[in-house]
């Protein structure tokens, strides 16, 4: 039996080798600039605010915008630029200081990423590098990224590897009444994260393909949020949230897309998650884009998520002050969540609008419009609503 398996593997690998030599070349960069302008609105409400120790409002609103531009430098080299900003207002963070409306009750986060990719068309390889920056009132982050991807088997198989490092820093803001008692006890204000990602994509048939992906994420530094309060069952004096200074996360995912009929696509995604805080999670998503016409696509979707609680979580006033670590942040509690919504895509063959640019006979095309709305509900009582809009654009000859 083992011989048969060995033979099967050998044949498959020889087959792969032969296919790699068939003269197939990966797709070169198109001579056009692609851009996506995204807008998002999000609102939530609940009664388990972590700033107030697991009770109190979680009301929050967020308005987000992002511009993603891909600029081909030639047929193999390209630049990718992402810039964005979020503006949020949070009733919860306003409780950091009960006397004065704190700066964190509304905040602006701005970020930018710059990436460079280079393809080797004959070998089917793409390498990429990138750097990033993000800044908000009490948090700054620098990041670097490197990636490698190789496709073979006439583009039917692709392996991609990526590594990413974040170097973040908190401006430590403690709850007003804890500033004298707790400030000196935080060992660091920095947080570093290192991610290693691997993904393997495979075409199964002319209508079916699958992606396996996994990550290992190692975080170190200040992993708690310094303005989260924790109340105890055995003393009146509250403290700030305290969590270990390292965390290892391992998410694994399988994504499958299937085109069973000419008017219907099935997109599914399953994710398993484990971390050493004690959280284990399963997430399942399904989306069924329905092609009403060549121009219009409606995409209803559903997502289910369940997770166990972190070892350090307990509700309001249920922790013991003798514990080394504690949090009453319900994002780390045992929970189930459901998300349901609808996407609308408009992609006319020749674009929604066209404009001839005066320079170098270039043509600006408003290529597509995508809208998406989702309702999210969590078993802890938090409800949220979001709206997103994507305007896809091209500049081509």
């Amino acid at each position: 039996m083992q011989k048969y398996f060995s033979l099967l593997f050998l044949l498959c690998f020889i087959n792969a080798g032969l296919m790699a030599q068939s003269g197939y070349k990966m797709k070169a960069n198109e001579d056009q600039v692609d851009a996506d302008f995204l807008l998002g609105y999000y609102q939530q409400d609940g009664n388990n605010g972590a700033v107030t120790g697991g009770i109190g409002t979680e009301k929050l609103e967020d308005v987000a915008s992002m511009l993603v531009v891909n600029i081909p430098l030639d047929s193999v080299k390209a630049l990718n630029i992402t810039v964005g900003a979020d503006y949020y207002s949070s009733a919860s963070t306003d409780n950091i200081d009960n006397n004065v409306s704190s700066a964190s009750s509304s905040d602006l986060r701005a970020y930018a990423n710059l990436g460079y990719t280079r393809k080797n068309l004959r070998r089917g390889e793409t390498i990429g590098f990138g750097i990033g920056f993000s800044s908000e009132y009490d948090y700054t982050s620098f990041s670097a990224r490197a990636s490698f991807a190789k496709e073979w088997n006439e583009g039917n198989s692709e392996l991609s590897l990526a590594g990413q490092a974040f170097f973040d820093n908190w401006v430590v803001i403690l709850p007003i009444e804890l500033r004298q008692s707790a400030r000196g006890t935080l060992a660091t204000s920095s947080r570093n994260s290192f991610n290693a990602q691997a993904a393997f994509a495979q075409v199964i048939s002319p209508r079916l393909q699958v992606l396996f992906s996994g990550e290992a994420i190692y975080m170190q530094g200040l992993l708690s949020t310094p303005f989260h309060r924790v109340f105890f069952s055995d003393q009146n004096q509250a403290d700030i949230e305290r969590l270990p200074d390292t965390r290892l996360k391992i998410p694994l995912a399988v994504r499958l897309t299937y085109f069973p009929f000419d008017q219907l696509v099935l997109r599914t995604n399953y994710r398993y998650y484990w971390d050493d805080f004690g959280i284990t999670a399963h997430t399942f998503e399904v989306e069924t884009p329905i092609k009403i016409s060549p121009t219009l696509t409606l995409s209803p979707f559903y997502r289910y998520h369940t997770q166990t609680a972190a070892d350090y979580f307990a509700p309001y006033a249920e922790h013991l002050s003798s514990d080394a670590f504690y949090t009453s942040d319900y994002d780390l509690s045992a929970l189930q969540s459901h998300k349901v919504g609808l996407g609308i895509g408009i992609t006319p063959l020749y674009g929604i609008a066209r404009l001839k640019l005066p320079t170098k006979d270039r043509l600006f095309i408003l290529d597509k419009l995508q809208f998406r709305t989702a309702y999210y509900t969590r078993s802890t009582g938090l409800d949220a609503l979001s709206f997103s809009l994507n305007l896809g654009m091209k500049i081509k000859r």
Binding site: M66, I204, K249, P251, R255, R271, Y273, A310, A374
Partner: protein
């Protein structure tokens, strides 16, 4: 299952002829790990092996090239992914933030 009886174990090592078997103490330590490693390697190798058995030609990729068939989250989902990273302790492997830049998790 009776672990003392080698016939009840589906181990690669324990099913070897007697002359190929490792000493008992070493086998007891190595065998469970070797089984797991072998299973892991086979599992990882399987998609690669299968990959060469499937070849869809470029002219057959009309459906695969449809934007809805992309094996990634849509760009329009990017903000939802971020919100989920804030609201659920378990984040990652979905193209969203997995640490850094957002102060979440």
């Amino acid at each position: 299952m009776n672990f003392a009886d080698p016939r009840s174990r589906s181990s690669v090592l324990t099913n070897l002829p007697q002359r190929h078997r490792a000493p008992t103490k070493l086998r007891a330590f190595v065998s469970p790990w070797l089984e797991k490693v072998t299973a892991g390697v086979l599992l990882l190798a399987l998609p690669f092996a299968l990959s060469s058995c499937v070849s869809v030609k470029a002219y057959q990729k009309m459906y695969l090239n449809d934007t809805e068939m992309e094996l990634a989250a849509k760009k329009v989902e990017v903000f939802e992914t971020n919100y989920e990273a804030y609201r659920e302790g378990a984040a990652g492997a979905n193209g969203g933030k997995v640490g850094g830049g957002c102060g979440c998790n």
